[in-house]
Assembly symmetry: C2
Homo-oligomer: 333 residues x 2
DNA sequence: CTGAAAGCGCTTACAG
DNA sequence: CTGAAAGCGCTTACAG
């Protein structure tokens, strides 16, 4: 069932059908009863417009590309859902892809999405992808970064203030009288994760607590479990051991909490704990886990708003850092 | 940078450029050095083909629609990732949408995807959507159901054998000497979930264990936590209480395990437990949780294979029930 | 063996 | 006020 079939049946030009069905201003000139007949025929024959043909003509696909690290990761998946809903409300559909923190894969996804003429892309950018983003920028295809961003670049982004988040977490631990705070973080060059480390260090500095290199442990992503355990063991067995632990991702917390449990460390009496992000098991752990909660809803909404505004060429780059929220549990004392 | 721009620069027709860049058989007739010049020019000017224009002509978008219950749900998200990768390998991209178990939303998503001319759709169908699936079928747009299916319908599907999964779980509990087995399931009309209940009942029947209605508790989705607790309490406080529990979803298990922990029930001594699906916390729980594991990888691959085969109009409807796997932990005794 | 031309299904500027 | 025609950017059947 094509537009021109309806036109033939009703006895008008396809232009007339197009005007009426799209409620184009030009439809005003079509007679009332003819317009009605067009609508009725379209409904009866269950006309389904070909969006591809329309897109070719209008140069708009009403499709947003979404590149996440891994859609199977709950953080990505939740963000994806929020963006899906926000986009849908504006008539957009979402094409997604997972980059696996791999710049080549990200580049491949960007290219695929360009070929498919997405109107804009929301990207949780991987490390070392500045160059390809500059390239994307030079092509004039709107994009906005989410969760990740690059210092010194002028790209649009929506992220949380990672620095402030860990700064405040450390402050909370200090206010509970803990001064020997261990940090378990990821070995990474991703700026937003480094910001978490910086928040830890500067909070200690501000409160004149000496920073002990032995209390900072960075673990490589591919040996997460063993390295988290090893790091915690070292911190616990130091001459003057730690009295608190801050985990900068939920996976680090998962392995860390298990290690603490195995060693029969009592939380928060022996060690106070603060984790990053959400996780199912935070509620199921023997003591509820104090954690830094990212405002996923706001993050997704802001990114979608931003990309749709840039698609409409309204306004300049949005660069937003949203505050994270410290959710108090029993684990921080 | 358009095809015709390259044609103009090289001094050939756009047809020639199209043939060469697509490695069309017809390209054989283009002279070696001309072909080389076309390729070189395309690379130098960074030509990016417009897939929309190609799709309009070829009537293929190389896009698969994926309708899940909720992309934020880890089950959906993991399936999505597997499908993404499998589809990508065949040159397909994935457009997704969440139906929230709502037939109207599902219908809306199907319509949107039709308008966008997806080549086929993979659908985790919601209850009561048979009619709209028949409608989709009559339009000739290929689709395959995943995870869910309808008895008596001839739609293609890829799912697990839910009946056998719980049948075997009950058999395991019986083999451990447990005969008073409680079932906590969802109040639902979704066939694949009812199959889980049937597996429980028939396993008991086969072993001549009387089925006690008091040991079967169905909870409505909107009052999960309270109802799971209430149901378990009743089963524990019965005159002859249960000695084992089977949870037919991971969320039910989450709330059930917490309830058992709060009541200081020792697992598996007092109550043996088997859960459905995976969850992070299965590993973190004081005793590791025996659970029925769905073969997500095979599920996603089979669905993608199936839809791509149907798009190519090769073969008839695939109707596959894959076996689930019982992952032994300490909780089942 | 080659190239010009038609056509995919729409939208919309333009001539009457 | 109306309708026929051009055109979006490709692919490919067809005439020379």
């Amino acid at each position: 069932m094509l537009l021109k079939d309806i036109a033939k049946i009703v006895g008008v030009s396809s232009a007339a059908v197009s005007y009426v069905l799209n409620e184009h201003p030009m439809a005003a000139r079509i007679g009332k009863e003819v317009a009605e007949k067009i609508r009725k025929t379209a409904t009866e024959l269950n006309y389904q417009p070909n969006q591809i043909a329309r897109s070719l003509k209008t140069q708009k696909t009403y499709t947003i590309g979404l590149i996440v690290a891994d859609i199977a990761n709950p953080f990505s998946a939740q963000i994806a859902r929020i963006i899906e809903d926000a986009a849908k409300q504006q008539g957009y559909t979402v094409l997604f892809g997972s980059s696996d923190e791999n710049p080549e894969k990200e580049q491949g996804l960007i290219r695929t999405m360009m070929h498919r003429q997405v109107d804009g892309i929301i990207i949780a950018a991987v490390g070392h992808s500045e160059e390809q983003l500059h390239d994307l920028e030079s092509r004039g295809l709107p994009f906005v970064l989410i969760d990740r961003y690059f210092p010194g670049e002028n790209f649009s982004y929506v992220a949380i203030d990672n620095y402030r988040a860990t700064y405040e977490a450390v402050q909370l631990l200090l206010s509970k009288g803990r001064t020997r705070i261990g940090l378990v973080s990821l070995e990474t060059e991703l700026f937003h994760l480094l910001e978490r480390n910086r928040g830890y260090r500067e909070a200690l500095e501000t409160h004149a607590i000496p920073i002990q290199p032995a209390f900072q442990h960075s673990v490589p992503l591919h040996r997460l479990r063993d390295e988290v355990e090893a790091g915690i063991s070292r911190m616990l067995e130091a001459e003057e051991p730690i009295d608190a632990l801050l985990f900068t991702t939920n996976l680090l917390a998962l392995h860390g909490l298990r290690a603490l449990k195995l060693r029969q460390i009592e939380i928060p009496r022996d060690i106070a704990v603060i984790a990053f992000d959400e996780a199912d098991f935070y509620d199921l752990f023997p003591v509820s886990v104090t954690h830094i909660s990212q405002p996923l809803e706001e993050l997704g909404l802001a990114a979608t708003d931003s990309i749709i505004r840039e698609i409409a060429r309204k306004g300049k780059p949005t660069q937003v850092l949203l505050p994270a929220r410290l959710v108090l549990g029993a684990s921080s004392g």
